[in-house]
């Protein structure tokens, strides 16, 4: 297998970044997030998870769409979409990779979101198996195998080496072109690691949730469950869960007045916000309970109903960790998901 000694990883990063832009998990001011490699990054591939998910690459928090240039009474329309060239995202975990599939079903079906498509197609994704999954992880419930994270190239961190397993042609093309890699015999070690990971995952507290209730046919019943009140009681209505979530895909389109006209851009929105979806000037979901219910019903019921039973949750556990008041999807699943929870 192609591999590189872990203490030589900088060589790898440098070589890739010479070919194209490279993004990897970087620690800055105590928070881990994907950052463009500039030679100074404090790269951290040991820690499990970035705060923001990898969806940002295809669906950034803000993105320009079109510019209107005004002069006197004249208006000129300028396409503001960025030209994207091939780039590498390094260190994506299995859950985040799975989230791309969920987002694709939203953005790549007709009418295709060209901005998303542009960014998605030009990305080469190096995934990374999860050596140390966290107690808040529950990806297993959604058919995700953290020991086989998929992507263009799977990476395994074992025995002081990082091993590479290209899965696609564009992945192989990059891996084969890297001169810093050496051929190391590692299949056994990787297999052992995979087994170890699978074992660890099995033992996690949330690995076997009962999702059986979340079916389209139960929609109205679930919607009317009285437990939503207490589940959402402490919700602050902030957007933390939505913004760290790898599958949340709502956005708002806004105009910004520049000195020469108007910039029309889109930016993330959160269904948890009171000013979300101002239909006829008002949010139809007036209470925080309704908004809270919307988010989880969408993840666990509405989306799967429209997408062959695929849940739009990947069990990454970000909302579990980051909710200011410790409300999260696991608590929802356990409360109303099925009898076998608890």
């Amino acid at each position: 297998m192609k591999a590189i000694l872990k203490d030589k990883l900088n060589l790898l990063y440098e070589e890739i970044s010479k070919k194209c832009e490279l993004y990897l998990p970087t620690k800055e001011k105590g928070a881990l997030n994907f950052k463009k490699f500039d030679g100074e990054n404090e790269v951290d591939i040991e820690s499990l998870q970035t705060v923001k998910s990898a969806k940002d690459f295809f669906f950034p928090q803000t993105e320009d769409m079109v510019n209107f240039k005004t002069e006197g009474k004249n208006i000129e329309i300028i396409d503001a979409r960025e030209k994207i060239e091939t780039y590498v995202i390094f260190g994506v975990r299995a859950c985040d990779y799975k989230s791309f599939e969920i987002l694709d079903r939203v953005f790549l079906v007709e009418p295709v979101d060209t901005m998303y498509k542009n960014r998605r197609e030009n990305a080469v994704i190096f995934t990374l198996a999860c050596n140390n999954p966290h107690a808040s992880c529950f990806c297993k419930n959604f058919g995700i195998d953290a020991s086989s994270p998929k992507g263009d190239v799977e990476c395994y961190d074992v025995d002081g080496y990082l091993f590479f397993n290209p899965l696609t042609e564009k992945g192989a093309q990059i891996v084969n072109g890297l001169t810093c890699l050496e051929e190391v015999k590692g299949e056994d070690k990787v297999d052992a690691l995979k087994k170890d990971i699978t074992k660890k995952i099995e033992k996690l507290p949330f690995s076997n949730l009962d999702l059986s209730k979340f079916k389209g046919e139960n929609l109205m019943e679930l919607f009317n469950r009285p437990e939503w009140e207490e589940l959402s009681e402490a919700c602050l209505g902030c957007g933390t869960c939505t913004f760290v979530c790898p599958t949340c895909q709502c956005f708002d389109i806004r105009d910004f007045k520049t000195n020469s006209g108007i910039k029309r851009f889109r930016c993330w929105d959160s269904c948890m916000y009171s000013d979300f979806t101002q239909m006829a000037a008002e949010n139809p979901r007036k209470t925080q309970m309704q908004r809270y219910r919307q988010r989880f019903m969408h993840k666990l019921c509405y989306y799967p109903s429209n997408n062959d039973g695929i849940y739009s949750c990947v069990g990454c556990g970000r909302c579990v960790k980051k909710c200011p008041q410790s409300l999260n999807i696991v608590k929802v699943i356990k409360k109303i998901g099925g009898e076998k929870n608890d």
């Binding site: 001011k29 928070a31 928090q61 207490e230 902030c238 851009f265 009171s274």
Partner: protein, 321 residues
């Protein structure tokens, strides 16, 4: 600390049973010992999930804005720092006091779960709390100060509101200076400060957790959500918007911020937001005399009062150049 939890719980029971209150605002158990959530308990039976431990950092006072408007009296448990927020909300007529029975609860500082992870504890299954030490998972003994939230390390707040107090041990004082980091920043050069804040603020994802958790940020509609304010936005499109959001957020609570530290506790990106609020507090103390928001329910705040001899803005800007 189990004893303290029991004492708080029996107070909750007593208040519900006696009919003194019809609801109790406290904290409820989560899946683990550390993911507790604020919760309203309506019956004694519901209290089986009641919890009061070192992870009950959430400030409950803000929930009273809505809860106190409902029918019947509600009891609320307030840590010393929360009582200041409570007073401030009362001062601003946001809480209907006649519907609230406030009970102060002992607090020896609350935990920051990330600090356990940083100490090498991968999974926190249980924490036995002592006054100065904690035992994690029945084995690892850690210094309590090493796993406390930043705000608790510098806290010397006392209960300033509440009909009664549930306290088994006196609160251990802190000798740390809460303005230490503010002073450090002030001593830096402007370039260094700029670099520091640029990195910190660039992490902001505009999730509004800091704003929504803040008891002082209790506007019916925030300027940043109001399309008529000309500054509304749902994301920071540029670094300017990061700066503006945080300057204005801190400015709007200047003189009203009690330094409860919730903003920093909830920030998913660990931005030290309290350093902005504390800068204002420190400036107010220096320029207009020491002022602790929430210490009482009647005094005029420093930005709604003045003296004829106040410093000029040109003289008020301190710090290094």
């Amino acid at each position: 600390m189990q004893r303290l939890e029991n004492a708080v719980l029996s107070k909750a029971k007593e208040l519900l049973e006696s009919g003194k209150v019809s609801r109790v605002l406290g904290w409820t158990k989560g899946e683990f010992c550390y993911d507790v959530s604020p919760c309203v308990f309506n019956t004694v039976d519901e209290l089986k999930n009641f919890v009061y431990n070192g992870f009950c950092g959430a400030n409950l006072s803000k929930y009273l804005i809505n809860e106190s408007k409902k029918e019947g009296k509600i009891a609320v448990f307030l840590k010393p720092c929360d009582t200041y927020s409570y007073n401030q909300l009362v001062k601003e007529h946001r809480i209907k006091v006649e519907n609230v029975y406030a009970v102060g609860v002992e607090c020896q500082g609350k935990f920051d779960i990330e600090k356990f992870y940083a100490k090498g504890v991968g999974f926190v299954a249980s924490v036995e709390e002592g006054l100065t030490e904690v035992k994690v998972n029945g084995e690892t003994v850690l210094n309590r100060n090493d796993v406390k939230l930043e705000r608790c390390l510098v806290c010397n707040k006392k209960h300033v509101a509440g009909e009664e107090i549930v306290e088994l041990n006196e609160k251990l004082p802190s000798d740390s200076d809460r303005f230490e980091m503010v002073k450090k920043l002030e001593a830096m050069t402007a370039d260094e400060r700029f670099a520091f804040w640029k990195k910190e603020l660039s992490k902001c994802i505009r999730c509004n957790a800091c704003r929504n958790v803040c008891p002082a940020c209790n506007c019916t509609k925030c300027v940043f959500d109001n399309p008529n304010s000309e500054v509304s936005a749902k994301a920071n499109a540029t670094s300017f918007e990061e700066q503006m959001f945080h300057i204005i957020r801190a400015f709007h609570v200047a003189g009203r911020c009690t330094d409860c530290g919730e903003c920093s506790r909830v920030c998913p990106q660990n931005i030290p937001l309290h350093l902005l609020n504390r800068k204002f507090i420190s400036d107010i103390d220096k320029l207009y005399g020491e002022y602790q928001a929430g210490e009482d329910t009647t005094s005029k705040g420093p930005l709604t009062s003045f003296t004829k001899e106040d410093a000029e803005p040109s003289d008020a800007v301190g710090g290094n150049k």
